[in-house]
C-alpha cells in the first residue's frame, strides 16, 4: 500500500487556510465575495423548521376521528397563538361545551381524520453561522454558506472537546516539557497553552478564571472522563458543553508538546486565535485545530495538500508503545516484512532517536512531523 504510515498532523507557521462555513439547511448568505470578515461576524443565516406539538383531539373531545373536521375551529395552514381555541364541541346547552386551546403559538400543520391527531408547528428557529476566523470571503456558495480564506499559523491537534471559540493566546509555560500548576485571573478570555499535561484541576482553574480554551500535549483519560461526566466511547466530539474548549496536541498521558508546535504557539503568544475542539476519528477524519491569522508574510503552504511518502531523514514521532511519544529520524526503510515482538510480520522502519539509539518499529506506528 502506498501509505503504510499515519500522515502527520498539520503544523505550519505560515499557511493559506480555507474554512468552509455552511448552513445546516438552505438559507441566505449575508456577505459578498471579497469582503473582509471578523471571526464573530454573521456570514449566513437560515430558519430551522419549528418544533412540533401533537394533540390527540378526538380523545379529548370524546369523538371519532372521522368526525374531527366538524369540531375544528382552524384548518391546515392556519396561524394560531397559545391559548387560542383550536377545536370545540357544540352541545345544545352551552354549559357543556368543551374547548381545546392551543398549547403553542405557530401554525396548524396537519389534521388527521384517521388518527384524530392534530400537529401544530411552532415558529421557526433562526440559525446563524459566524465567520469563525478573521479573513476574506473567497467564495460564496449560493444559499448554503461561504468559504473564508485567511493566512497565518495552522496547527492540528490530535484530539479535542468543546466547540469553536476565540481569544488571545497566552503561554503559561516556557518550555514544551513543562507543566502548569496554576492558572489565575490573567487567563480571562484567553486561550492558555499549559504544557505537557492538562489536568482536571487545571481545567477547573481555567474555567474559574474565565479562560475560553486550553491547549496541552496530553491529558489522562481518567481526567477526561471526570471532565465529561461519562466515558467517551467513540471519538466524535465538538458539541460538549463544558465551559471551554480543550485541545490535546499529542495524545493521552503526559506528553511533551512537539517542539515545532510549541515554537509556533510561542511565536504567536498574545495574538488572537480561533480554535475548535471538534474531532471525528473515522472515515472523513476531522481533527481539532488552532488558527492564528497574521499579517506577517512567510513561505506559505496550502493547507489541504497531500504529503509525500516516507523517506530516510524524515523526522517522525512514534505513536505506540514501547517508544510512544519519542521523536527521531528515519534511518532505514527495509522493504521486506519483519517479525516484531508480538509475533506479527509487518513492514517496519529504522529510527534513530536524538540520543543516537537505533530501534525498529512498525511503519503503522509512526507519524511524520512535517518540518
Amino acid at each position: 500500500m502506498a501509505h503504510a504510515y499515519t500522515p502527520g498532523l498539520r503544523v505550519t507557521r505560515h499557511a493559506v487556510i480555507q474554512k468552509e462555513r455552511r448552513l445546516p439547511l438552505k438559507g441566505e448568505v449575508v456577505v459578498e465575495r471579497g469582503v473582509e470578515v471578523r471571526r464573530d461576524q454573521v456570514v449566513a443565516r437560515t430558519e430551522l423548521p419549528g418544533e412540533v406539538a401533537t394533540m390527540n383531539i378526538v380523545n379529548r373531545l370524546g369523538i371519532l376521528p372521522q368526525e374531527l373536521a366538524g369540531y375544528m375551529l382552524k384548518k391546515e395552514g392556519d396561524q394560531i397563538v397559545e391559548g387560542e381555541p383550536l377545536a370545540e364541541t357544540r352541545p345544545l346547552i352551552k354549559w357543556f361545551k368543551t374547548t381545546i386551546e392551543s398549547p403553542v403559538s405557530g401554525t396548524v400543520e396537519s389534521i388527521s381524520l384517521v388518527t384524530g391527531q392534530v400537529i401544530l408547528r411552532k415558529a421557526p428557529k433562526p440559525v446563524e453561522v459566524l465567520a469563525y476566523v478573521d479573513g476574506v470571503v473567497d467564495e460564496v456558495i449560493a444559499e448554503e454558506g461561504v468559504r473564508i480564506e485567511t493566512r497565518g499559523a495552522y496547527i492540528q491537534g490530535i484530539f479535542g472537546v468543546g466547540g469553536e471559540c476565540w481569544g488571545a493566546l497566552h503561554l503559561a509555560v516556557e518550555d514544551a516539557n513543562a507543566e502548569t500548576k496554576t492558572i489565575g485571573a490573567e487567563a480571562a478570555g484567553k486561550i492558555v497553552v499549559v504544557g505537557s499535561l492538562i489536568t482536571l484541576e487545571i481545567v477547573e482553574q481555567a474555567r474559574q478564571a474565565g479562560a475560553v480554551g486550553l491547549i496541552g500535549g496530553g491529558m489522562r483519560d481518567q481526567d477526561l472522563r471526570d471532565l465529561l461526566g461519562y466515558d467517551l466511547g467513540v471519538a466524535i466530539t465538538g458539541a460538549e458543553e463544558i465551559g471551554l474548549t480543550v485541545i490535546v496536541t499529542e495524545g493521552f498521558g503526559r506528553i511533551a508538546m512537539a517542539g515545532k508546535t510549541f515554537d509556533i504557539l510561542r511565536a504567536c503568544s498574545g495574538m488572537e486565535a480561533s480554535i475548535s475542539g471538534a474531532t471525528q476519528i473515522r472515515a472523513g477524519v476531522l481533527r481539532p485545530e488552532i488558527i492564528v491569522p497574521s499579517a506577517t508574510a512567510g513561505d506559505e503552504e496550502h493547507v489541504g495538500g497531500d504529503s509525500e511518502g516516507l523517506q530516510v531523514g524524515n523526522v517522525l514521532r512514534v505513536i505506540r508503545m514501547p517508544y510512544f511519544g519519542q521523536i527521531g529520524r528515519v534511518s532505514g526503510l527495509p522493504a521486506e516484512l519483519q517479525e516484531v515482538e508480538s509475533g506479527a510480520m509487518v513492514r517496519v522502519l529504522e529510527v534513530e532517536f536524538d540520543g543516537g539509539e537505533q530501534v525498529v518499529v512498525p511503519r503503522a506506528n509512526v507519524e511524520l512531523i512535517e518540518e
Binding site: 418544533e51 388527521s112 476519528i281 508503545m321 503503522a364
Partner: protein
C-alpha cells in the same frame, strides 16, 4: 450464465480500503488466485470511488500478468490472458446504508422491520414504535436529527390496525426528513405494513417522501415475509444512496450484477453455505468501527450489526461497555488501570497503529474477546422467534424460553463458527484466533471453527448471486482456513474434577484421556483429517446427547487441532487464581510461545 464464467474480478469498496480479488477456473475448479488493494477514493481530493477500484485492479494486473483494464474500461469477456468474464462489487463506503425503521408494537412489527433492514445489510439507527415510550415530539425530533439514508415503515398485520400505522406516517411527515446525501432529493421511505393502510399512508407521505409500497413484512402474527421489502431496500440503496455517492453511477455501469451492501453480501454467502451443507452457521466480522454477526439456524437467517463495537475507532467504547474487569479477566498479567485507559484512548485517536509488544497484543486480543462477546449478546437478543405468536409449550420449553421470544441461537446445535476481520484473520498465530472465538462465543458440544483468510466473503456473497457453484467452491478451498474443532461439555463443577472421558482415533494412534474441570487440552489433528471421537461426559455434563449421555461423532482437524474445553459454560474464572488459570490456558493452546 454460471457455466460461462472462467475469470471473475470482484471488489469490495470499504470505508478505507478497496479490496479486489481475481477468481479463475483452472482444471475445472474455481480458485481465488490474486488479490490487490488500494485506498478507497470516495472522499476529497478524488471524490470518485472508481479511482480506488482501478488502482486495486491494477495491482492485480501487475501480480497476475493478466491485462484487465483498457484505460478506464474493464475488458470483457476474457480471452486468453486478457480481460475478465464479469466484474462484480460490494460497497460499504461512506458509512454503509443507514436506516431508521418503524413498526406499531416494538417487540413485534418493530423487530420484524429491524430484522428486515439488518438482513439487507443496513445499520439500524433507531426503531420507532407506537409503544416505544417516547412522546410524539420526541419521535419527530429523532427522525429529523438522525437523517437516515432510508426509512422502512412496517406495522399492523393485514386487516389489523390502521390508525397506529398512519400515526407513525404522520410523525414522519411532520419531521419532513432530509436524506444524508443529496440535499435536493426526497427521503426514500418503504411502506411494508398493513395493506389496508396503504391508501392513507400514501396520502400522508406520498408528496413529502419518495414512497415505495411493498408487501407486508408481517402479514399475520405467525409469519414474517422479509424478502420483498429486502429487495426494495437493495433497489433503493442502488438508486438513491449509491447513486449519490461520488463515482458510483459510473461504477454501477461497470458491474455485471447489482452492487450489494457489504454485509448483505456476507449474509448471502453464509446462507448459501448453510443451505448447501445443511448446517447451522454463526459468522462474525469484527472491524475497526463495527462488528457484524450473522447466523443461520434451521434455515432462518439473522444478521445484527453492533455499530459501536470495534477494534480501532470504537475500541474505547468496548472498554466503556464491557468494563475494565471483564477485559482484564483474559489477560495473564496485571496493569495499572490509568495506564491501560490511556493506551486504549491512544489507539482510538490513532486507529491504524498495531501492537509491537506481546503484552499490547494480549490486551488487544482481550478487548476483541469482549467486543465479540457483546456483539453476540446483541445478536442473540434479536435472533429470536416471532413474538406475539401463541404456541403450545411443555414445561421444559418454559425454562429455555427467553423473556420475550424464543432464542433461535442454540449453541449446542451450532456446526460451524466463522471469524473474520483484522484481529481474527491477521492474528500472528492461528491459535490466538481460535482462542478468541472460543472465549467470546463459548461454543457448546462439538463445533468446527474457521477464519476468513483474507476477507473475501463479501466478494463471494455477490458472486453467489451470479454463480453459486463458483462462490461455494472458492469459499471452501480458498476463503476459509479451518482452525479445528472445539469439544466443550456444558455444565459446571469443581476445578480438577473429571468432566469428560474421551477416546479419539488420532492419525498418530488411538488416544484415551480425561478432561478435568477448568482444563484446556489441545490434540494434534491436521486440516485434512477427520476422525472418530467417543465422548463420555460425567453426570450433569452434556456434550450434545443430554446430561451424562455418551456421544460418538466424527470431528475434523485444522491448522490448530482438536480443542477439548473443560472450563464449563459459562467459562468459570477463579477470582483468586485468575492469573495462573489464564496463563495455563494460554500455555495449553500455545497462544504466545514461551
Amino acid at each position: 450464465m454460471g457455466s460461462d464464467l472462467n475469470v471473475v474480478i470482484a471488489t469490495d469498496c470499504g470505508s478505507t480500503t478497496t479490496k479486489a480479488i481475481l477468481i479463475e477456473k483452472k482444471d475445472g475448479q474455481y480458485r481465488q488466485t490474486f488479490r490487490g488493494e488500494a485506498p478507497t477514493t470516495v472522499e476529497a481530493p478524488f471524490e470518485d470511488v472508481t479511482r480506488g477500484v482501478l488502482n486495486a485492479i491494477q495491482e492485480i494486473e501487475e501480480l497476475s500478468g493478466r491485462k484487465i483494464l483498457d484505460g478506464e474500461r474493464i475488458i470483457t469477456p476474457a480471452e486468453g490472458d486478457v480481460g475478465v468474464d464479469i466484474y462484480i462489487s460490494t460497497s460499504s463506503a461512506g458509512g454503509g446504508l443507514q436506516m431508521m425503521v418503524g413498526g406499531v408494537v416494538q417487540a413485534m412489527t418493530g423487530e420484524s422491520a429491524q430484522r428486515c433492514a439488518l438482513g439487507a445489510g443496513a445499520i439500524v439507527m433507531d426503531t420507532l414504535a407506537a409503544n416505544d415510550g417516547r412522546l410524539p415530539h420526541e419521535k419527530i425530533e429523532r427522525i429529523r436529527q438522525l437523517r437516515p439514508d432510508m426509512l422502512l415503515l412496517a406495522g399492523g398485520t393485514d386487516g389489523g390496525t390502521i390508525s397506529h400505522v398512519v400515526e407513525l406516517a404522520e410523525y414522519i411527515a411532520a419531521a419532513d426528513p432530509k436524506p444524508r446525501f443529496g440535499s435536493g432529493f426526497m427521503l426514500p421511505v418503504i411502506f411494508s405494513g398493513n395493506q389496508d393502510a396503504r391508501k392513507e399512508v400514501a396520502r400522508v407521505l406520498g408528496e413529502k417522501t419518495a414512497l415505495t409500497v411493498t408487501e407486508n413484512i408481517r402479514p399475520v402474527l405467525e409469519e414474517e415475509n422479509l424478502g420483498p421489502a429486502r429487495h426494495v431496500i437493495h433497489d433503493l440503496f442502488l438508486e438513491h444512496v449509491m447513486a449519490q455517492a461520488p463515482g458510483y453511477r459510473k461504477l454501477m455501469g461497470w458491474t455485471g450484477a447489482p452492487i450489494m451492501p457489504t454485509p448483505g453480501a456476507v449474509g448471502e454467502i453464509m446462507q448459501t453455505i448453510a443451505r448447501q451443507q445443511a448446517i447451522n452457521v454463526v459468522g462474525v466480522d469484527i472491524g475497526g468501527a463495527t462488528t457484524d454477526v450473522f447466523s443461520v439456524f434451521g434455515e432462518i437467517f439473522n444478521r445484527t450489526v453492533s455499530a459501536n463495537l470495534g477494534m480501532s475507532y470504537s475500541i474505547s467504547n468496548v472498554l466503556a461497555e464491557a468494563g475494565l474487569d471483564d477485559i482484564m479477566r483474559w489477560v495473564a498479567f496485571g496493569i495499572e488501570e490509568a495506564d491501560l485507559r490511556d493506551r486504549i484512548k491512544n489507539k482510538m485517536i490513532r486507529p491504524t497503529t498495531i501492537p509491537q509488544l506481546l503484552q499490547e497484543l494480549q490486551v488487544e486480543q482481550a478487548i476483541a474477546r469482549e467486543a465479540l462477546r457483546l456483539a453476540f449478546v446483541q445478536h442473540r437478543q434479536l435472533a429470536v422467534g416471532l413474538k406475539g405468536v401463541q404456541s403450545e409449550r411443555t414445561l421444559a420449553d418454559v425454562f429455555e424460553q427467553e423473556a420475550t421470544g424464543e432464542s433461535l441461537i442454540r449453541m449446542m446445535k451450532l456446526d460451524l463458527l466463522v471469524g473474520s476481520g483484522g484481529v481474527l484473520s491477521h492474528a500472528p498465530r492461528r491459535e490466538q484466533s481460535c482462542a478468541m472465538l472460543i472465549d467470546a462465543f463459548q461454543p457448546e458440544g462439538i463445533t468446527r471453527l474457521a477464519v476468513d483468510s483474507i476477507f473475501m466473503m463479501p466478494h463471494l456473497g455477490v458472486l453467489s448471486t451470479v454463480d453459486e457453484q463458483a462462490a461455494t467452491e472458492v469459499f471452501e478451498r480458498d476463503c476459509l482456513i479451518y482452525l479445528g474443532t472445539c469439544v466443550a461439555p456444558v455444565g459446571s463443577g469443581k476445578v480438577g474434577e473429571v468432566c469428560l472421558q474421551y477416546t479419539v482415533d488420532l492419525p498418530s494412534g488411538r488416544q484415551t484421556g480425561e478432561l478435568r474441570v477448568g482444563e484446556l487440552v489441545l490434540l494434534p489433528l491436521a486440516d485434512d483429517d477427520e476422525v472418530e471421537i467417543e465422548l463420555e461426559p460425567a453426570r450433569r455434563w452434556d456434550v450434545g446427547a443430554g446430561p451424562g449421555q455418551a456421544l460418538s461423532a466424527r470431528v475434523c482437524g485444522g491448522v490448530v487441532g482438536l480443542v477439548l474445553d473443560g472450563r464449563g459454560r459459562p467459562i468459570q474464572i477463579l477470582e483468586d487464581d485468575r492469573l495462573d488459570q489464564v496463563s495455563a490456558w494460554q500455555g495449553a493452546l500455545n497462544l504466545y510461545g514461551e
